[in-house]
Structures are given as structure tokens and as C-alpha cells.
């Protein structure tokens, strides 16, 4: 693959007659197995072109592609022709064909064949991971080895030729004797186009696509998102996927223009009495069968769940990659110190706030006990200077560190108008996305400094309630009109405010600026200019992602000592420490240990956790200001 030639992994599947009419032959599993094995080979998956970074018109239909995405909606399962027979009108010869991994059948389907097998598959509507930061996109697209099966759009009229080619491949097989077993032929072949050729042509901007995209709402959760959305067809085990899961899907791309033709010609050719007619509204049609040029279909061969979308980490899980893990762990403490200095600088010289910010950035809901999410650490950063767009600058810096994030300015207008909670649209039969439909571990920055006095309307109240629920229970109640449905989430919420926030939080820290107000302007512009070398930024990025993935435990001994501590604290002053405080201190201790790369609680970490919590609380007492949001 490094030779500069582009690889292409093209698949042609040929089945012998006896096979796919028999659903028990297990050929489906074998296909999937084959691909899984191939993709496990060293770097094999990097050869596969990604829908995320290769424009659709450079990808070859019926080739293997991958897509890093979030399941935004799940459509109804559909029945399709798993196997069918075609009849050649001239010779009357019957050929058994397979309908799996395809949207459109071959010509001359014999609808009366007894060999027709009806099979079931599920469709997911997938969008690129919402709020994925530019650096993630950049790094992932540059790490791809070559635009392998992508090809230059020199042959615009490819689809028919393609079909012919497929036919040619299968033609000799038809003449063969029926096989008793299954037969699969995969052809890896070298694409003849040179690498440079591809690169050059990729830079040409697709012009027609952007224009036509405008009239179709691709239902991205966040405003201003770009990228293809995709209808992913899942053939097995679809119950194991959940809404909002992030996946890397490997599948066969299907962009048959025929799929789009369907929608266009609908009006012209159908008769009023057509029973299929009244079943779907025009909106539903538009949503469920969008033009394939905009929303390609991807027939899933296999999907890898993404525990994170940080391209700097190896794709294998941390446990499987002990070398990487141990090298990172050894550097943990030093990287932490650097990061702390950097964040202290960003937070106007407040080291304690910086410490808490690190804890917040690596927090993660690691379990749920009945309704209680464990490990969440929503933070309220109060005392943010309103001047000089401090919060925006602060967000831009965080954006450089975390893989996905979203900035939500809590202005009255936004709160009253934005759609935060996804809502089911029964006319189009889809889940209309909202800004809170986010992937796990997305950093959600709520800027309360934008909130001014005024009237919240019904939507506004609902939005604020939704944010409150998100913070307290890490769940979003999706609106299904007649009822609500609860979807658990795992989102890191940071609220920046001047006073105490009107939203609940797990911990509030009041920013103590070391910068005098007259110098603020200058200081802030310096933060912006302060360039971090990309290697250092990468270290931070890896650090934050790895710290979040680590396992954590607590020994019996430490349990005992924590208990003793709690009892002692209560003895002195029962009012000072409540059960809730213990809850929080346990989380702080956990995050503190992880931030240092320690996977179990030590006495030191516990004491330190207690100490910083005490510092934070004493600071809060100084800044006690009554605004009605106190509990």
C-alpha cells in the first residue's frame, strides 16, 4: 500500500444455485467473517476509503467503504428479496440471484419463483458524529493511506458499465454446474490509476452536489454541520445497536441512480389505485428514500463500535494495546502537569479551577445504579468575566483538546427557539434531531453569560428543563408527541456563568482571576496568540482520551479509611458534610486518581481530593451571593 498505488477491494459475490435459496447454508456469516478477517490484517482498514473524507462522487459504487457515524434514527425493518430468480426473456433460462447487500435487483425478476426467499433487514439513518472538531477530521483524513477504491470521476456514466461488468463477472459462473457448497469470489485488484492522479482530481470541488443538498434537510443534530448522512442497511443483530451509538461501519456502498429515479418518477407513473400509493406521504418518501447522490446507502458488513473518536489513539481497545497504554501511563503525570500549566494560564491564572477543569474533561458516566448515573461531573464555572468574549475564547481552546464539542450560547433567543430535544415527526416518520442528540463524551459548553433578563416561553421552559434533566440524570426525554421516551446519554456539561448558574451542577467553582481587569483585554488576546505546538496539543489530546478510558477500583482498605474519614468529618460538624458531599468527593477522588494515571485509589489521592474540595468550598463561601438558585 505504500508503493503509491491505490488498492481497491472490490467484491463480487457469486453464489451457486443451491445456496442462497437455502437460508441455513450460513453463507451470510461466512461473508462477514471473511471481511472481518481481512480488515484485521495490518492496517487493512486504513485502505478502505472513508465516506467522512472522500467526496461521494469519487467513490466507486458496490465497493467497500467505511463511515464513522452516529445512529441518528432507526427506521422500520424492511423485507426484501434475499434471493430471487431472474428469467432471460430470450432463452427462458433461470438464474438464481442474491439480493443481499443490494438495493436494486437485476432485470427480469421472476416473481412467481418458488425459490424466492424473503429476508429482513433494518435501516439506520446515520450522520457524522455531531460536533466533531476540525482537528479530528484533519488527522483522520490524513492518516488514511491512499484513497483506495475511490476513483476519478472521469467516467461519469459509470453505473451501466458497472452493471455490465458485474454481469460479466457472473456470466461464466452461470454456465457452471451447480455447486454443492457456497462459493465466494473476492477480487482484490490493483487499481490502475496512479495516486497523484487521484489526489489532483479530488481537489476539484463538487459543484452540483452542494446545490441540490439545500432543499433536503439531512437532519443533523447540530446546526451548521456538514458531511454525508447515510442510510445504513443492517443485516443481522440489529437489536444490539442503540440510538446515538457511534460506529465505524464497513459496508458496500450503493449509490444506484435508480434509487433516486424512483422518487422523481413517482408522480408521473403511478396510478391512483396503486395500493402502495397511499401508504407513504410525500414527506415520508423524501425522508426514507432520499436521492442516493446525497444520502448514499451503505450495506453493512460489519460495524466497529467506537469507544471514542480520537484518531490519535490506536483503533484497538486499550487492553489490546498494552504497549501504547504503558507508554502513555508513564507519561501521564508529566503531561498532566503541562496541561495544568496551560489551563491555568487559560483560566486567568487560577490553578484550582484548572485542576477541576481537567477532572471535568476526563469525567465519564461509567455505570448507572437504578436511576443514578455514576461518574458524571457537570461543572459550573462561575465568575467568568463578561468582557472580551472570554467564554468564546475559552471554548475555542477546549475545542482544540476534545474530539467533539458543542457551544450553546444560552441567550434568551436561543433558549426560546432552538430545538434541543429530538422530536418525532409522524408525518415524515422520522426523529427530527435536536442539539442534545449527542454522541457519548461530547463536551457541551453552556454559555450562561449570554443570558439576559426576559421571558422564557413554553419552548424555553422545556429547553431549560431538558438541560436540567441532562445534567442531573444524564438523560434526554425525546418527544414522541403522545409520550416521551427516555434516552440515557453521557455528555460532559460545563456551564460558564457570572454568578451561580440557574442550572444544577455537580460542582461549582468560582473563577479567581489573577489578572487585573485593565489588563484583561490584553491578556486574553495573548491566550489566543499563545501557540501550542501541535505535538504538545496531540499529547494533551491523547492524555484526555486515555485518562477517560482507564479502569478504576478501590481497595477494601481504602473503603474503610474513606468511611472513617466521613464519620470523623460528620462528628465535628454534621452540617458541613452531607451524603451528597461524599458522593461528590468520591467522584473527585476517582477522577483525580485517573488524571494521574492511577487505576486505584490511594490514600494520597483521597486526601488531595478532600483538600481541593475543601479549597473549592471555602472559596464558594466567600463568593456566596444570593440569586435564588441556591438549593
Amino acid at each position: 500500500s505504500t508503493t503509491g498505488e491505490s488498492w481497491s477491494l472490490t467484491l463480487t459475490i457469486i453464489y451457486s444455485k443451491t445456496d442462497f435459496s437455502n437460508p441455513k447454508s450460513g453463507w451470510e456469516a461466512k461473508v462477514v467473517e471473511f471481511f472481518k478477517d481481512r480488515l484485521k490484517e495490518k492496517d487493512a482498514h486504513t485502505w478502505v476509503p472513508s465516506l467522512n473524507d472522500v467526496p461521494l462522487h469519487y467513490l466507486k459504487p458496490n465497493s467497500l467503504v467505511k463511515f464513522r457515524c452516529l445512529i441518528q434514527d432507526m427506521f422500520d425493518p424492511e423485507f426484501f428479496m434475499g434471493a430471487y430468480e431472474t428469467v432471460d426473456p430470450s432463452t427462458n433460462a433461470k438464474v438464481l440471484r442474491c439480493g443481499r447487500y443490494k438495493d436494486v435487483t437485476e432485470c427480469g425478476v421472476d416473481f412467481n419463483s418458488r425459490n424466492t426467499v424473503t429476508a429482513e433487514r433494518q435501516t439506520f439513518y446515520c450522520v457524522p458524529i455531531p460536533g466533531e472538531n476540525p482537528w479530528v477530521k484533519e488527522i483522520s483524513s490524513s492518516s488514511r493511506v491512499v484513497p483506495s477504491t475511490s476513483y476519478a470521476p472521469t467516467r461519469q456514466k459509470r453505473s451501466y458499465e458497472e452493471d455490465d461488468m458485474d454481469d460479466m463477472d457472473t456470466q461464466p459462473q452461470k454456465q457452471r454446474e451447480p455447486h454443492s457448497g457456497w462459493e465466494l469470489v473476492y477480487i482484490y485488484f490493483l487499481q490502475t490509476h496512479g495516486n497523484g492522479d487521484c489526489k489532483r482530481q479530488e481537489t476539484e470541488a463538487p459543484s452540483s452536489q452542494t446545490a441540490s443538498a439545500s432543499h433536503l434537510d439531512l437532519n443533523f443534530p447540530l446546526p451548521g454541520e456538514k458531511g454525508p448522512s447515510c442510510l445504513v442497511k443492517v443485516y443481522e443483530d440489529w437489536d444490539s445497536f442503540k440510538l446515538n451509538d457511534t460506529l465505524e461501519v464497513f459496508g458496500i456502498l450503493s449509490v444506484s441512480p435508480a434509487l433516486s429515479a424512483l422518487a422523481d418518477e413517482k408522480d408521473a407513473s403511478s396510478s391512483i389505485l396503486d395500493p402502495t400509493e397511499s401508504m407513504e406521504t410525500a414527506e415520508e418518501q423524501r425522508v426514507h428514500s432520499p436521492p442516493a447522490s446525497l444520502v448514499p446507502r451503505l450495506h453493512m458488513l460489519y460495524a466497529r463500535p467506537l469507544p471514542h473518536n480520537n484518531p490519535l489513539l490506536p483503533s484497538a481497545t486499550l487492553e489490546d494495546n498494552s504497549a501504547f497504554l504503558s507508554s502513555t501511563l508513564s507519561e501521564m503525570a508529566s503531561v498532566r502537569a503541562e496541561l495544568l500549566t496551560y489551563l491555568t494560564h487559560v483560566l486567568l491564572g487560577d490553578a484550582l479551577a484548572a485542576e477541576y477543569l481537567i477532572l471535568h474533561l476526563i469525567s465519564n458516566v461509567y455505570a448507572r445504579r437504578d436511576v443514578l448515573p455514576l461518574g458524571k461531573f457537570a461543572m459550573n464555572l462561575s465568575g467568568c468575566p463578561a468582557a472580551a468574549l472570554y467564554t468564546q475564547r475559552f471554548y475555542q481552546i477546549i475545542q482544540q483538546l476534545v474530539p467533539s464539542s458543542f457551544y450553546l450560547g444560552m441567550s434568551l433567543q436561543n433558549m426560546n427557539q432552538m430545538r434541543l430535544v429530538p422530536k418525532k415527526d409522524y408525518v415524515a416518520n422520522r426523529l427530527v434531531s435536536g442539539a442534545l442528540q449527542l454522541a457519548r463524551n461530547t463536551f457541551l459548553f453552556l454559555d450562561e453569560t449570554h443570558l439576559e433578563q426576559g421571558q422564557l416561553d413554553t419552548t424555553g421552559v422545556r429547553n431549560v428543563t431538558a438541560l436540567g434533566n441532562l445534567i442531573s440524570w444524564q438523560k434526554v426525554d425525546y418527544d414522541f408527541n403522545y409520550h416521551q421516551m427516555e434516552f440515557p446519554c453521557n455528555i460532559n456539561v460545563l456551564i460558564a456563568s457570572e454568578g451561580r448558574s440557574l442550572l444544577p451542577s455537580d460542582c461549582q467553582i468560582h473563577l479567581q482571576s489573577q489578572v487585573s481587569p485593565p489588563n484583561m483585554e490584553e491578556y486574553l488576546s495573548n491566550i489566543q496568540l499563545h501557540p501550542q505546538t501541535s505535538s504538545q496539543l496531540n499529547k494533551f489530546r491523547i492524555y484526555l482520551s486515555v485518562a477517560r478510558q482507564l479502569d478504576y477500583s478501590i481497595s477494601d482498605e481504602m473503603t474503610k479509611s474513606v468511611e472513617d474519614d466521613f464519620v470523623d468529618m460528620r462528628k465535628d460538624d454534621p452540617q458541613s458534610v452531607s451524603a451528597e458531599d461524599l458522593h461528590r468527593m468520591l467522584v473527585v477522588a476517582r477522577l483525580l486518581s485517573l488524571s494521574l494515571g492511577q487505576t486505584s485509589l490511594t490514600r494520597d489521592s483521597w486526601l488531595r481530593a478532600k483538600h481541593i474540595d475543601m479549597l473549592r468550598r471555602s472559596r464558594m463561601e466567600q463568593h456566596q451571593c444570593v440569586n435564588g438558585n441556591e438549593p
Partner: protein, 873 residues
């Protein structure tokens, strides 16, 4: 009596030959038309004598028989009645005279050949001889004759052994059930016979299997059977059309999620929620053509949504002279209904699936979207696959396959098709699960089905002596201790026994237990509420802060599309039969709270708005949480003073608990241990320790559905004693310390405790526990901080007896003061207060003064308007 148009080898038209749509000559029997059409035809046309000919298949011999089939295929299925029955001139009041109504729900377009039992040689053409002389419908193992006999036997003999009086009001349980129902039909004249599939199964498992597997063949056979039987019995009755059998309750209950290709064309029952209904679609069943030249008319049945237009007029032999006359064609009603999985059936983290259902004829408009209706018992034939043909002009290629559907055509140019089928369900029977919400009690509507194994597990659990403790500790394990509160909530989850005293004028007796939790902020009250809300299937969670009276009750809305007034229900109505969790109860506005008065005692909700006056059932248990008015609970004040809720509302709570932070070392240690292990125990450890939430849920559902404990003699005695004791406590100090409401609470709690034990009888132990819990709650919430005594009047009248005495004194002093002033009809409020303060030895607070004024106002002695106090005559 042969089938003259049958051509050998043309079995069910599968071979791709033209599926010959027959024209229906005017001689066609009335059985295929509705009566209305029938009579009008008679007026409009003379009875032509020309024989019916099959226009599109000239090969077919002319049908000169009187019994010509109106169906396109001679061996057409599902003829209601045997051909011989369609002799002209039979009296109307018979199976022959009563028109059969088409059953589009069964797919009238499907034309499977059927064995003509009375035909000899020809019958064999279409059927494959099976087991000697037995003839079956092609592709199935259904023998029409046997099937008919079996069903008739079922109708004649079936007696439901498990029937209870109330289910079949007015029916004699020892007589065959369905014969009585037929009698009912003959009286009422509604020609629909609902047949419970489970009863069919218990009577004849084989018949049931056939019904499930081949509904399209078997149901018409049932129709045939029932009509023969009916007209034999009641030869003189006149029905609008022939009786149609509507099976329901097929055991093959399917979750929408589990529908799969094997279910195609089978009889299944699924439940769901209506989300959208279409407008009424008139579906043409029969097209009426008239020749422009000679005015000869002919009818063509619509086949799979297509009309085979006759090319040649067979009267004058002109080509292309026939024109469709719309208003003489026959249409049937059809409606598209979209249903969605009910939220209860769904695995977590997935979105609900939707399915398209077609309702036909009288099922149209039976259900409405948006009412949060669960339809169950939606019987359907199949996700049926639809196809359009790939070449638009090759109509003749439409085969009469089992799946009358094939993928959607992609484009006429390319002849490949999209390989996806369109599926839908034809509804045969709807049952709304909650339709009785407006009308009365219907416990079994939501009956959850439990497997034998599950019931066994639950019963084993119930037999354990410590089941009560086990269940209460399984409740919200993440919340530490507060055992009595959990026990209280557990009893609330089970609820008391529902009793109906409406005959004695008392109305419904509340069975639901209401609980209020008050206490310091941060004592996991909200968490407990969240847990309960997640546990019960019909829970609602609202916060007093954000909800308005409208959000809690119901409001009337105008549907923008239909301009219809729609009643939108709020949290309280939605949690009917469930639990309504109200957080921040204290932050609720007074007007919102006031609606709770009715709900919490009468369990109904009255609405008089926009011309809609109705009473909705809101048999909901209320679990509320309130914070003290001051940020911390003030132990020196009573409950009422701490939470500032009207006592009228508080007295409607059966149990009021305080969730305070107990401050002792042992507790702290246990708490710390609990929290640390909560954070660091693995999932498995947790599961070992506690009961699974699903088991708990099933346990509660089972007990709520099947266990209805009644008071035993001893229990009644114990309750009486308990009540008398409670009254006695107070009587020593000259006050009433218990009211009938407390007795009712005790009964409810005792019943709930019996339910926990799966016991049909309330026994003394239940009463003991009810007493204990009630006492515990009182101890927490009704202790007079001034005296240290438990004083129920704090809750029932809003103040302790001592405080009340004080109020009386002040009121009397005030009255004296006013009287002393002589004849002054109006006084200044502030002036009066100052005067009273000047006179009194003890401090008079403004509140005390207000209360005194109020009590005098209650005596009609004076009124207070703004800042003026006026004396009343």
C-alpha cells in the same frame, strides 16, 4: 354443477396466464353486492338474459349456468355459500337472500382456488387429492367441509369453563356461548360475530392452527359456517349483510419488533399506539362500465387495485366503447392507520417501530390518533407484500401469488426493481386497551401476559417469609436506608383493593395510596421519585415548579387540520392506574394544587371547558415531594408550618414521611459504606444483592392484576380496635385524634400488604404492619413540636390542638374588642391589629391575627376586604 370456466392446468393462475378478470353480468347473484346497490340495479336495468362471458379469455366456454361465478376465477375461493345456495328466488331471509359483504380485510383480491365440495370431477382439477378423498384448498391443508363442520361444532357446543359473570353479562354460562351470541345477533341485527381465538384453541387445537396459518381461507369458511347455522336457526331474521366472523385474541401475539417474514399472511395480534390515521379512502371494489354505443353495462371486479377494462362490448361487439361510470361502481371504505410500538414493549435505547394497518368498512374511524390509545388485539393477516409490475403494459403478468406484492418498480426504462417489499397489515379486529378509561373499570385491558415460569418464580418469591423486606430493599437500592419510606412506597405500588360503592351512593372508594415526602433538600427525594417513575409502566413525573393546572389535568385543543376539538390529557389523567410523581410539590401554585383535591379523593377529574364537560378517571396514586419553606427543616415547627401546604390537601395523603438527615455515628458509617460500595461494586455484585428491577416490576404487575384481598373477620376486628385506640388517645385530652380517613388509610395499607404476600385475605399481620407504618409516618410528621405528642389534628386541621386553642382565644378576644367599639360597621385592618396588640398580654403575630379574623369571618360575623374589616349584620 360444474365449474365451466375452469381450464385444466390453470391452477390458481400462478403460471403467469392472464388472471382473467371476469365481467360480472347482471345475472350475477346479489350475494356479491351490497343491498343498496342491489335495489338500485333492479330499478335501472331490466334483467338481461345474456349470459355472462369471460371477455378476456375467449377460450373459456360460455357460462350458461345460473350459478355463474362473479369471481374472476371459477374456482374462486371464499364464495360465501356453496354455489347451489345461490338459487334465484329463494326467500330473502336466508343465507341465500342476505347479501354477503365483501371482506377487503381478508384481501378480496386473493383468489385461491377452493374445493367445490359439491362438484365431483371438476373439483379435483383445482385441488390436489390428499389423503384419499379429502380435498383441500390449494396450498393449504384446509378442507372446507371439515373446517366448516368443526367450527359449527365449536359454535354449537363451546361453553366457556372459565367465564365469569361480569364478562358476559346477560349470558347463561352453562349454555353454549356462541349460540347465545348468535341469538343476540338475530335480535340486535349487527352481523358481526367476535370469536375469541383462545376459546377456539381450547376447543379444537387443530382448527385453531389452521385459523392462524391460513386465515384467508379459514375465516371465509367460518363465515360460511356461521351463516348456515344462523339461518337454519333463525330463518326469519333479516340482516343487512351476512354475518362476518372476527376472530380476536390470537395467541400468536406479536410485538411489532418481532414480526418477521414468516408471519406473512398469518393471523396475528399485535398491540400498538395509533399515531396517524388517513382520510377515508374509497376503494373501488367493482367497476361499472357502460357501452357508449348500445348502453350495455357490465361490471368488472377490481383486482389488486387494477381494473381490466373490457376492450370489446359483448353486446354490440364494438371495441373500446365501454366507459367507466364512477357513481355506479361499488366502493368500500378503507383507512390507513399508522401504529407505533407502545413504549412499554420497547427495548431501551431504540426508537419505536411503526407499521401500516388498513382498516376496512366498519373498522374505519374506529380509532383516533393522538389519544394515546393502545390498540391491542389488532388482528391482522399479514404484512402483505405489494408489487407493481415491472413492465407497465404487461398487466397479464400479474400472478395471483400468495404475496400479492413485489418490489416497487424503479423505473420503466431499467427493468430492475427495488428489492424491498412494502408491507402492511389488514385489520380484522381492533380492541382499544384504554377505551374504558372514560367509562369505567377495566382491569384486564392491560393485563400483562406472564409465562408459566415467571408466575412460578413470582409465587416462590411470594412464599418467602421475608418477601416484604426483600421487595422493599430492592426498591431504589442506590438510596440508603429510609426503610419505612421504601415500605410505604412499596405498599403504594401495590395499592389497595378497588371497591365500588356507587350503589350505596358513596361512589368509588379510593384504592390508591398517596404519599408525601418532605425533608431537607438533598436527601434523595427526587431520586426516589425518579426511581418510582421509572419502575411503573404508567408513571408520570412532573415538577411542581414547571407544571400548571393545565399540564396536570387536561386541556381542550383545536386540531389545526380537522378543526375538531381534542381533549389533551395531562399528567394526572395519563397516570390513571399508575403513579403520578410530583416533585417540588411546595412550589406548585395554589390553583394547580386545587385540582389535586378532587383527584386525590374522588379519583376523577372534572373538565368544563370549551363546551366539553366531562369527568375523566384519574385513579392515580400521588407520590409527592416537598421541600421546607425555609431552606432547612425547622424541627421547632410542625409539618404544616414547615412546608406551608393547606391541611385540606395534606389530609389526603395516607402517609407523610419526613426524610431528614439523622445524625449519629453508626448511621454515618453505614451510609459511607453504602455509598463507597455503590460507586465501586461491580454490576454483578450489585445484582446478587438485589432483586432485579424486572422481577420487581412483574411482581407488582402480577399482584395488581390478580390479587384482590378481602378483609378477614379477624382483620376487621383488628382494624376496628386500631381505630378505636387511635380515637382514644386524643379523647383523653379532649380532642379528636383520628378521623374516618385514617381508618380508610389503614384499610388500604393492610390490603396492599396482603397483596405483597399474594394473599387473597387481609389478615391480622397485614393490619399490624399497616398500623405500624401509619404510626411511624405520624410520628414523623404529626408530632407537635410544642408538646412532643403525636397530634393528628396537625394534619387534619392544619394546626395542633394547642395552637387551635390559642387561635380560638384570640378570636374571642378580637370579637370582644370589636363589640366594645360599638356600632362601627367598618374598621381599618391595621388599626384593629394595633388595638388588639395593645390589649393582649401575649404577643399577637400578624398570622395569628389573620387566622382569628378568618375564623370570625367563618362565623359570618365579619368580612375582610383589602384593608378594611366590615361587620356583617
Amino acid at each position: 354443477m360444474s365449474s365451466p370456466t375452469s381450464t385444466p392446468g390453470r391452477k390458481r393462475g400462478r403460471d403467469g396466464n392472464p388472471a382473467t378478470p371476469s365481467s360480472e353480468g347482471p345475472t350475477s347473484p346479489p350475494s356479491q353486492r351490497r343491498r343498496g346497490q342491489d335495489s338500485s340495479n333492479g330499478d335501472l336495468m331490466p334483467m338481461p338474459t345474456s349470459p355472462a362471458t369471460d371477455m378476456l379469455s375467449p377460450a373459456a366456454p360460455q357460462d350458461t349456468s345460473l350459478f355463474s361465478s362473479p369471481r374472476p376465477h371459477p374456482l374462486s375461493p371464499l364464495m360465501y355459500g356453496t354455489p347451489s345456495s345461490r338459487v334465484e328466488g329463494t326467500p330473502r331471509s336466508s343465507v341465500r337472500g342476505t347479501p354477503a359483504r365483501q371482506r377487503p380485510d381478508l384481501g378480496s383480491v386473493r383468489k385461491a382456488p377452493q374445493v367445490d365440495l359439491h362438484s365431483d370431477a371438476d373439483g379435483a382439477v383445482a385441488s390436489e387429492p390428499n389423503a384419499g378423498q379429502r380435498l383441500v384448498i390449494w396450498g393449504t391443508d384446509v378442507n372446507v367441509g371439515t373446517c366448516k363442520e368443526k367450527f359449527q361444532r365449536f359454535l354449537q357446543r363451546f361453553i366457556d369453563p372459565t367465564a365469569t359473570e361480569d364478562e358476559n353479562a346477560g349470558l347463561d354460562l352453562n349454555e353454549p356461548l356462541y349460540m347465545q351470541k348468535l341469538e343476540e345477533i338475530s335480535v340486535v341485527g349487527d352481523p358481526v360475530l367476535n370469536v375469541n381465538c383462545l376459546q377456539v384453541q381450547s376447543f379444537d387445537a387443530e382448527l385453531y392452527r389452521q385459523l392462524i396459518c391460513y386465515p384467508q381461507e379459514v375465516i371465509p369458511t367460518f363465515d360460511m359456517a356461521v351463516n348456515e347455522l344462523f339461518f337454519e336457526r333463525f330463518p326469519d331474521s333479516i340482516l343487512e349483510y351476512q354475518i362476518q366472523v372476527r376472530p380476536y385474541n390470537a395467541l400468536k401475539t406479536r410485538n411489532m419488533r418481532s414480526l418477521n417474514p414468516e408471519d406473512i399472511d398469518q393471523l396475528i395480534t399485535i398491540s400498538g399506539m395509533v399515531i396517524r390515521t388517513s382520510q377515508l379512502i374509497p376503494e373501488m371494489q367493482e367497476a361499472f362500465f357502460q357501452c357508449q354505443v348500445c348502453a350495455y353495462s357490465t361490471r368488472v371486479e377490481v383486482d389488486r387495485g387494477r381494473i381490466a377494462e373490457p376492450a370489446v362490448c359483448r353486446h354490440c361487439n364494438n371495441t373500446h366503447s365501454l366507459a367507466l361510470v364512477h357513481n355506479r361502481s361499488a366502493f368500500s371504505d378503507k383507512q390507513m392507520i399508522k401504529i407505533q410500538e407502545s413504549p412499554e414493549d420497547m427495548p431501551a435505547g431504540q426508537t419505536p417501530h411503526t407499521t401500516i394497518v388498513y382498516a376496512h368498512n366498519d373498522l374505519v374511524d374506529k380509532v383516533q390518533p393522538g389519544d394515546r390509545i393502545n390498540i391491542t388485539e389488532l388482528l391482522l393477516i399479514s404484512p402483505r407484500l405489494h408489487f407493481t409490475v415491472q413492465h407497465p403494459n404487461s398487466l397479464s403478468h400479474v400472478p395471483a401469488g400468495i404475496y400479492r406484492a413485489v418490489p416497487m418498480r424503479v423505473s420503466p426504462i431499467q427493468s430492475n426493481v427495488k428489492s424491498v417489499y412494502k408491507t402492511h397489515i389488514d385489520a380484522i379486529h381492533f380492541r382499544k386497551t384504554d377505551e374504558k378509561r372514560l367509562h369505567g373499570l377495566d382491569e384486564d385491558a392491560e393485563q400483562k401476559l406472564f409465562t408459566e415460569d415467571r408466575v412460578q418464580t413470582l409465587k416462590e418469591l411470594a412464599a418467602k417469609p421475608d418477601v416484604y423486606e426483600r421487595l422493599s430493599s430492592a426498591l431504589a437500592p442506590s438510596i440508603y436506608e429510609h426503610e419505612d419510606i421504601k415500605k410505604g412506597i412499596l405498599l403504594q405500588l401495590f395499592g389497595g383493593t378497588r371497591k365500588d360503592f356507587s350503589q350505596t351512593g358513596r361512589g368509588n372508594f379510593r384504592a390508591e395510596v398517596n404519599i408525601l415526602l418532605c425533608g431537607d433538600p438533598g436527601t434523595s427525594k427526587s431520586q426516589l421519585l425518579q426511581y418510582v417513575f421509572n419502575l411503573v409502566p404508567r408513571g408520570q413525573y412532573t415538577s411542581g415548579k414547571g407544571s400548571s393546572a393545565v399540564g396536570l389535568t387536561a386541556y381542550v385543543m383545536k386540531d389545526p387540520e380537522t378543526r375538531q376539538l381534542v381533549l389533551q390529557t395531562g399528567a394526572l389523567v395519563l397516570s390513571d392506574n399508575g403513579i403520578c410523581c410530583i416533585d417540588e410539590f411546595d412550589k406548585m401554585s395554589d390553583s394547580t394544587r386545587s385540582v389535586l383535591h378532587e383527584v386525590m379523593e374522588q379519583q376523577t377529574l372534572s373538565i368544563a371547558k370549551a363546551g366539553i364537560i366531562c369527568q375523566l378517571n384519574a385513579r392515580t396514586a400521588v407520590l409527592a415531594a416537598a421541600n421546607p419553606v425555609e431552606s432547612q427543616w425547622n424541627p421547632k415547627k410542625t409539618t404544616i408550618e414547615n412546608i406551608q401546604l393547606p391541611h385540606t390537601l395534606l389530609s389526603r395523603f395516607d402517609l407523610i414521611f419526613l426524610m431528614l438527615d439523622p445524625q449519629d455515628e453508626a448511621y454515618d458509617r453505614r451510609l459511607a459504606h453504602h455509598l463507597v460500595s455503590l460507586y465501586y461494586q461491580s454490576e454483578e455484585q450489585i445484582e446478587e444483592e438485589f432483586l432485579d428491577m424486572a422481577v420487581l416490576r412483574d411482581y407488582i404487575a402480577y399482584a395488581r392484576t390478580y390479587i384482590n384481598p378481602r378483609l378477614s373477620e379477624e382483620a376487621s376486628q383488628a382494624l376496628i380496635e386500631a381505630y378505636v385506640d387511635m380515637r382514644k388517645i386524643g379523647s383523653g385530652r379532649g380532642m379528636v385524634s383520628a378521623y374516618p380517613r385514617q381508618l380508610e388509610s389503614l384499610i388500604r395499607l393492610a390490603e396492599a400488604h396482603a397483596k405483597v404476600r399474594f394473599s387473597e385475605k387481609v389478615e391480622t399481620i397485614d393490619v399490624e404492619e399497616a398500623k405500624r407504618l401509619h404510626r411511624e409516618a405520624l410520628k414523623q410528621s404529626a408530632t407537635d413540636p410544642r408538646t412532643g405528642f403525636v397530634d393528628i389534628s396537625i394534619l387534619t386541621t392544619g394546626m395542633s390542638a394547642t395552637a387551635r386553642k390559642r387561635k380560638e382565644e384570640v378570636a374571642q378576644a378580637l370579637k370582644k374588642l370589636i363589640q366594645a367599639k360599638g356600632k362601627t360597621p367598618a374598621m381599618k385592618y391595621q388599626q384593629l391589629l394595633d388595638d388588639l396588640r395593645g390589649q393582649s398580654e401575649t404577643a399577637i403575630t400578624k398570622e395569628l391575627f389573620d387566622e382569628a379574623l378568618r375564623s370570625l369571618a367563618d362565623e359570618d360575623y365579619l368580612t375582610v376586604t383589602g384593608k378594611t374589616v366590615r361587620l356583617l349584620a
